[in-house]
């Protein structure tokens, strides 16, 4: 239990550091460390599938972000901070945290989950889907339509990325 707290506090410290550090490359690397802490937290929360997926996703994201920042001037320029804006944001965030107390009171108590839907999944998965891993059974059998729409979103993003990179090359051809 205490290790979960330690990992979450490490994630919070890493998030603050990644946002406040001046060097962009260091910020990207610290974000990778935050994602790896998240992966370890998933492992402690008995979700090994999620831990593996998060590990791969984090590595891919860090590679992409390093590729985006390594050839640029990676120092953030020191600019004057708009204090009225800053104070307004802090006040709204403190309101958000205050309101989150009511939300937490409505959530199920930690360690005693609501199993109303997943109890049937757990009891029926082996006979209906004949899959040992219940997470795989839910993702790929019971809720395959969700996964399908997620893949639609994934490929839409891929098409958008390809369109952006192609526009670059066409413009370079015409300009130079």
């Amino acid at each position: 239990m205490i290790d979960l707290y330690i990992l979450l506090i490490l994630m919070i410290i890493g998030a603050v550091l990644a946002l406040e550090i001046k060097d962009l490359l260091s910020a990207v690397i610290i974000t990778g460390a935050v994602g790896l802490c998240l992966s370890a937290a998933f492992l402690l929360l008995k979700a090994p599938d999620l831990a593996m997926t998060q590990l791969i996703v984090e590595i891919v994201l860090v590679i992409i972000l390093v590729r985006a920042t390594i050839f640029t001037d990676s120092r953030v320029q020191q600019t004057k901070r708009n204090y009225a804006n800053f104070i307004a944001v802090l006040i709204s965030i403190s309101f958000f945290l205050g309101a989150s107390g009511y939300v937490i009171a409505k959530l199920p108590i930690f360690g005693k989950p609501l199993m109303r839907i997943s109890r049937t999944y757990l009891s029926e998965a082996l006979s209906q889907a004949s899959v040992n891993n219940v997470v795989a059974a839910i993702t790929l059998d019971y809720r395959i339509f969700d996964t399908f729409l997620a893949l639609v979103a994934l490929f839409t993003c891929l098409i958008a990325i390809m369109a952006l990179s192609r526009a670059k090359s066409k413009e370079q051809k015409t300009n130079f």
Binding site: L8, I9, M11, I12, A15, V16, L19, L24, V28, G35, L45, K46, A47, D49, L50, T53, Q54, V57, V60, L61, I64, L65, A68, Q77, T79, F86, V89, I93, F96, L97, S100, I104, P108, F110, G111, K112, P113, L114, M115, S118, R119, Y121, L122, A125, N132, N133, V134, V135, I138, T139, R143, D146, A150, T156, C157, L158, A160, I161, L164, K168
Partner: protein, 120 residues
């Protein structure tokens, strides 16, 4: 109490989105928002002395953690990867066009674009 740490992480992400001006910092803030939501959903499905939801020989259903949030988070994770990659692509394109990651500078360049075109 442990839910509150997730909310603190989420509010750090909101702070980054609202205050930071560098595009890479904005992307990092959205990644932090993603992480906060993932860990909150998985924490809601945790059970004391719970076990991995995989059927082995001596495993009882009553001692498994909730598998439904885990499968939802797995799908959300893939979509989050795609969206973040799209944001990075947009940021690299903006850098090629304007030679900066700063949003204020991009807006300044865009407002006096005719001069820039004449100089170029």
């Amino acid at each position: 109490m442990i839910y509150f740490l997730c909310f603190i992480l989420f509010s750090i992400g909101i702070y980054g989105v609202l205050v930071k001006r560098n595009i890479i910092k904005l992307i990092i803030s959205t990644m932090i928002l993603n992480y906060a939501v993932y860990i909150l959903l998985v924490l809601m499905g945790f059970r004391w002395q719970g076990q991995v939801p995989v059927f082995v020989s001596d495993q009882e259903i009553n001692f498994m953690v909730d598998p439904l949030p885990q499968s939802m988070v797995m799908v959300a994770m893939i979509v989050g990867l795609a969206v973040t990659a799209l944001l990075v692509a947009v940021a690299m394109r903006l850098y090629q066009q304007f030679k900066t990651f700063d949003i204020k500078e991009i807006i300044e360049i865009k407002t006096k674009k005719p001069e820039v075109d004449n100089n170029a």
